[in-house]
């Protein structure tokens, strides 16, 4: 990760990835000589017990009287009751972005259909009264989609993005997993984080 990314032979200013000095392996003492204090064993055991007891007591206090507003130390998420806040890099269900008037941004160029490795996307294009192409039918087969995000990467109009939706992706009947254009339309507001994210990460490709 020490190399700078230079896809177009021009060095970028900003570093990508973890800095080199942090990646350098620290010296690990595999077989250290124990001091006498450690050889007695009991004090070190007591120290270890102290660490676990500290965790136990602090969690016990938090258990009996949960601190309000403070950062909690137990990170277990009760899934159906609590939801995880996913980072923008998460690739959930691919969705179509709608314009302000509620129609899709997609111009039915067919790039996503072409690049989709799982052949999950099918587009039937038409022209509207203004002479612009639009997807008359946009079908995404959820049972075929592999959530690779190529469609989003290739899309010139930011019309299809990977949302953070991770619920309801599986069905008992595969026929219900074939999503139509209407089912996939989401407002631009709901996928804002992801849009900003893809602008950032794909910018270096300079399409």
């Amino acid at each position: 990760m020490d190399k700078k990314t230079d896809f177009d032979q021009t060095k970028l200013e900003e570093m990508v990835g973890v800095p080199l000095d942090r990646l350098k392996p620290k010296r690990v003492h595999r077989n250290p000589e124990l001091t006498l204090w450690e050889k007695i064993y009991v004090p070190e055991v007591v120290r270890g017990l102290g660490i676990t007891t500290r965790h136990f007591v602090s969690n016990m206090i938090g258990f009996v009287a949960p601190p309000s507003g403070k950062k909690r130390s137990i990170f277990t998420v009760y899934y159906p009751e609590e939801k995880v806040e996913l980072p923008p890099a998460y690739r959930g269900r691919p969705v179509l972005v709608a314009k302000a008037d509620g129609t899709e941004k997609c111009v039915a160029c067919g790039l996503c259909e072409k690049i989709c490795p799982a052949k999950a996307i099918t587009i039937e294009a038409l022209e509207n009264a203004m002479g612009e192409r639009y997807p008359y039918k946009y079908t995404l087969d959820g049972s075929r989609c592999v959530y690779c995000g190529y469609c989003e990467e290739v899309c010139p109009k930011e019309a299809i993005v990977m949302s953070a939706e991770y619920e309801g992706l599986a069905e008992r009947d595969r026929r219900q997993m074939i999503y139509s254009k209407e089912q996939l339309l989401r407002s631009e507001e709901s996928v804002k984080g992801r849009l900003e994210y893809i602008r950032r990460i794909y910018a270096k490709w300079n399409y």
């Binding site: 009991v42 055991v45 270890g48 017990l49 660490i51 676990t52 007891t53 965790h55 136990f56 969690n59 016990m60 258990f63 130390s73 137990i74 990170f75 277990t76 009760y78």
Partner: protein
């Protein structure tokens, strides 16, 4: 005569209720919940009755239902009789060892002498050793009768480990016997009225050694070589299912309680609150009349004793979830090369101090 019988039955029922009815089921829950809190997790809390979970306290019940419903499996080629007998052989000693552990003082109640211990044996400590030695048989038989290589190795390890540590444990307690001059656990308890006469202050080294040996004797981590789930599947109870499996677990939990009770009795003042003698308790409760005072003092004794027991149960659980497992040669080395010589040194020092003092 009749009063004696009532007294014995009441005490036995009490200990059975506390041990089998309270500690045995609840300790499974305690173990899960405590390990969760120590590791910054939440722990069992999903079993609910009518929408109430009560911090997972229904889990022992649901576990019990699950276990009873399970198939009682005996592997082909197993020694059927011994395979069935082994869990009982390891559970029964665990239950009856508690008989000699005193949980209160001696009082006059309605003109009848009440001694809060089930069996006040003159050889109290030896009785404990005898029955913890018997528990070895259950483990070894379970390992042998299962006809499973993992079980057999687990049983062999258990026999070697438990026999070794029994020797060391016996020697560590000799220091306590020398200091108090008796084997009777009630007398040892009664002598620890003052805080400065607690065994832990008179025998600090003895306490550490005895506690280590007791944990090792109970085959719990860091000494859980016989079960060693990363090496031996589940060790000697690999081939056990259903209620027989639970009998092993109950035996283990009851041994935890017994060890906690023994450590409390031998080293931590038994049923005494520091600096408060039994007669002082009775005179403190004089407003309730002689019998009422005795009853109240008994209750205070029992509460104190079981609070201490709970603390040592907690300590054993903490040790179990803190320390990693020993290697097998380390277990043996610790026993024969460290604890045994140290306990001999302890006996020597105790003898010298007693001679000069």
């Amino acid at each position: 005569m009749f009063a004696d019988m009532i007294e014995s039955v009441a005490k036995i029922l009490f200990i059975f209720t506390v041990n089998l009815g309270f500690f045995a089921p609840i300790l499974g829950w305690v173990e899960r919940k405590q390990s969760a809190l120590m590791q910054d997790r939440i722990g069992a809390n999903r079993a609910d009755v009518g929408g109430f979970t009560i911090i997972g306290l229904f889990h022992p019940i649901s576990d019990a239902i699950k276990v009873i419903m399970k198939e009682d499996f005996i592997p082909a080629g197993a020694e059927k009789l011994l395979h069935t007998l082994a869990p009982a052989i390891s559970l029964i000693p665990a239950i009856i060892t508690f008989a000699v552990v005193p949980f209160g003082g001696q009082y006059e109640l309605f003109g009848h002498h009440v001694n809060l211990v089930i069996a006040d044996l003159d050889v109290g400590i030896l009785y404990v050793f005898a029955f913890s030695g018997l528990a070895t048989y259950g483990v070894v038989l379970a390992g042998w009768a299962s006809r499973n290589n993992w079980s057999l190795i687990g049983g062999l390890r258990a026999s070697a480990q438990m026999l070794s540590y029994e020797v060391a444990m016996g020697l560590t307690v000799i220091g306590v016997m020398m200091v108090y001059g008796t084997l009777k656990l009630t007398e040892i308890g009664a002598m620890q009225e003052s805080l400065f006469h607690w065994g832990v202050f008179l025998q600090p080294l003895g306490f550490i050694l005895f506690f280590t040996c007791a944990v090792a004797e109970n085959k719990r981590a860091p000494f859980d070589m016989p079960e060693a789930e990363s090496e031996l599947v589940a060790g000697y109870f690999t081939e056990y299912s259903s209620f027989k499996f639970v009998m092993f677990w109950m035996g283990e939990f009851l041994e935890i309680v017994t060890i906690a009770g023994l450590v409390t009795t031998l080293f931590f003042g038994a049923w005494h609150i520091p600096f408060v003698s039994d007669s002082a308790l009775v005179s403190f409760f004089h407003f309730a009349g002689p019998n009422g005072a005795a009853v109240l003092a008994m209750l205070v004794n029992i509460t104190t004793f079981f609070v201490k027991v709970c603390f040592f149960i907690w300590l054993q659980m903490t040790i179990r979830w803190t320390l990693p497992r020993f290697r097998y040669d380390q277990v043996m080395k610790l026993c024969w090369k460290m604890i045994l010589p140290l306990s001999l040194v302890n006996i020597l020092i105790t003898g010298l101090v007693l001679l000069n003092g």
